[in-house]
């Protein structure tokens, strides 16, 4: 069972050192014609764990011959980092508000948040599109960043995290004369550090992988993030897919390994009641 999970990872990594010709030879259907003429049999795709000849050709092409990939990498960062920043700041503040605000209808508002959170992207697409159009930000990074930045998911995760803060601590600070802002900065935030880290990791992984939103809102190819290009790479330059995937996965894997505890913590937070 674990093999089903580890083999794709291994193949991606080892095959990124294959030469492009070898990849086409192993995986491509185009190769059929050749093969059929030569041997009179159909060629089936085959996985090779170990390349015939290890080479850095893919990485060379990726990083030096086509500087476009670096631009796309930067594009991904320029979309992901502002979204993560917005989600963290807005989410943490709103979560604090939901924790301390006393208002009968607050659960109704929160329920609406959960509905928006659960909706598939295709259902909120029209709404986002109408508003981006009205604000005149279509085809700019803002049209992707703003709706994602206000995503209710961040509020949900942070509120779950702040549920773990004992009420007595906040009340004690209030009696000592700390105002909301001081209580937020000095008590709520430090005590939900784990939640903040998890939120950042979950939202980074989510934004880094987004395909649909930039595909629809960014018509300009120069704004495209790496994830969108990768979603097309299978059809075009197959010889680069493994190195490009490794390149693409680096930041997520690094963050994932570095913060796996927080990642898991984030998942557990979603389960807290």
């Amino acid at each position: 069972m674990a093999a089903i999970y580890i083999i794709p990872l291994l193949i991606i990594f080892t095959n990124s050192f294959m030469s492009q010709g070898e990849i086409v030879r192993h995986y491509s259907a185009d190769y059929d014609v050749f093969d059929y003429a030569l041997k009179g049999q159909t060629h089936y795709a085959e996985y090779r764990l170990i390349p015939d000849l290890a080479s850095l050709e893919q990485y060379n092409t990726l990083l030096f011959k086509t500087p476009m990939y670096l631009d796309l990498f930067l594009n991904s960062l320029k979309l992901t980092l502002p979204i993560v920043f917005m989600q963290t700041v807005i989410g943490a503040a709103a979560a604090y508000g939901f924790t301390v605000w006393k208002f009968r209808l607050k659960e109704v508002i929160f329920c609406a948040y959960i509905v928006v959170m659960v909706l598939p992207f295709q259902a909120t697409l029209v709404s986002n599109y109408i508003m981006a159009d009205a604000l005149g930000i279509l085809n700019t990074r803002l049209s992707v960043i703003l709706p994602m930045g206000f995503s209710p998911f961040s509020v949900f995760i942070m509120r779950q995290s702040m549920k773990g803060i004992p009420k007595s601590i906040l009340e004690a600070a209030q009696i000592d004369g700390a105002n909301h802002f001081q209580r937020f900065i000095h008590i709520a935030l430090p005590l939900s550090k784990g939640g903040l880290a998890s939120l950042m990791i979950l939202s980074f992984a989510d934004c880094w992988a987004m395909v649909e939103q930039p595909m629809i809102f960014l018509k300009d190819a120069s704004l495209e993030p790496l994830s969108v290009l990768l979603s097309r790479i299978g059809q075009g330059n197959m010889g680069l897919i493994f190195a490009a995937s490794v390149f693409y996965m680096l930041p997520v894997v690094w963050i994932f390994l570095y913060g796996q505890e927080h990642f898991e913590q984030g998942i557990k937070l979603s389960a807290l009641r």
Binding site: A2, I6, L9, A29, A45, V118, H180
Partner: protein, 293 residues
């Protein structure tokens, strides 16, 4: 009398202070509420305009909804999505539950857990490339069977979609299950053993019962992620897949590509209402159980 006044005065000033404090608390929520309203709620209400008018802007009442339900493509997509959820969500809960129970008892489950979580970060495109070379007509499976079948174009595509979904999302629920299992006191199992309870009965009577809240959340999270399988499906089978895996998301994308706002908005209204109803039922049930405890 005098004293009573003083108490009232104090209560009054306390209330005043409380009100100010409470108003300030709302300021923390305001940016989020404004943003969510601006990008999700307001345009959603605005889109009601499209859903109740025809392409010339004339009011047609519920005619668009009638057309939508009459459309075979929409009904197929809705039915497929429903079937997909019915198959994928339970599997995505049961499999991690069983693996979780095994991993929890064994040592060295840590890195296995890491491996099971890895698909959460593998780019969809790369995973799709991998699955394609498994299932396409000259793929590995065809090769083993010595045939030339593109499995994604057969009825098997539904099973493939479910398998890909579970492969991708199971790790999330596994983490939830392991956390839930860690919360069950070990003594319960010791007592059960003293009582002479078999391990199957102990699993049913103790594990399952104490895991209900965890499994509930696993269900909700699976529900959310079940919509996201579209990304993999799109990369595996393109915009016009086999009709067994033609989902609501494909339908919505086609309407968007055709700029058919009437169909698009009325479909997103229907989806929002169905999901909204689900969420409200869950939410109320959850709050009730919270206060009941």
């Amino acid at each position: 009398m005098n004293q009573g006044n003083r108490v009232n005065l104090r209560r009054f000033s306390r209330n005043e202070k409380f009100r100010n404090e409470n108003r300030l608390a709302f300021l923390f929520i305001a940016p989020s509420v404004l943003g969510a309203a601006l990008f999700f709620i307001v345009p959603f209400v605005m889109s009601l305009g499209y859903a109740t008018t025809d392409s010339n802007g004339l009011f047609v009442g519920l005619a668009n909804f009638k057309n939508l339900f009459a459309s075979e493509a929409f009904r197929l997509a809705a039915w497929n999505t429903f079937k997909f959820m019915g198959a994928a969500i339970p599997l995505n809960i049961i499999i991690p539950l069983l693996i979780g129970c095994l991993l929890y008892k064994s040592t060295g489950g840590g890195w296995l857990k890491t491996i099971f979580m890895s698909p959460l970060v593998i780019p969809s495109a790369c995973a799709a490339f991998f699955f394609q070379s498994l299932f396409e007509s000259n793929g590995l499976i065809s090769g083993i069977l010595g045939v030339n079948t593109d499995w994604l174009q057969t009825d098997a595509s539904f099973a493939i979609a479910v398998a890909v979904y579970v492969w991708k999302n199971m790790g999330y629920n596994l983490v939830l299950v392991l956390a839930g299992l860690a919360g069950i006191p070990k003594e319960y199992y010791e007592w059960a053993a003293i009582e002479g309870m078999g391990s199957v009965r102990a699993f049913l009577k103790i594990t399952l019962v104490y895991m209900i809240p965890t499994l509930f959340i696993a269900f909700v999270m699976s529900f959310i992620s079940s919509f996201k399988v579209y990304r993999e499906l799109y990369m595996l089978a393109g915009n016009y897949p086999n009709e067994k895996i033609y989902m609501l998301q494909h339908y919505m994308n086609h309407q968007f590509a055709a700029l058919d706002y009437q169909n698009l908005t009325s479909a997103s209204f229907v989806i929002t209402f169905v999901i909204g109803a689900f969420v409200i039922v869950f939410f109320v049930a959850d709050k009730k159980s919270e206060y009941g405890e």
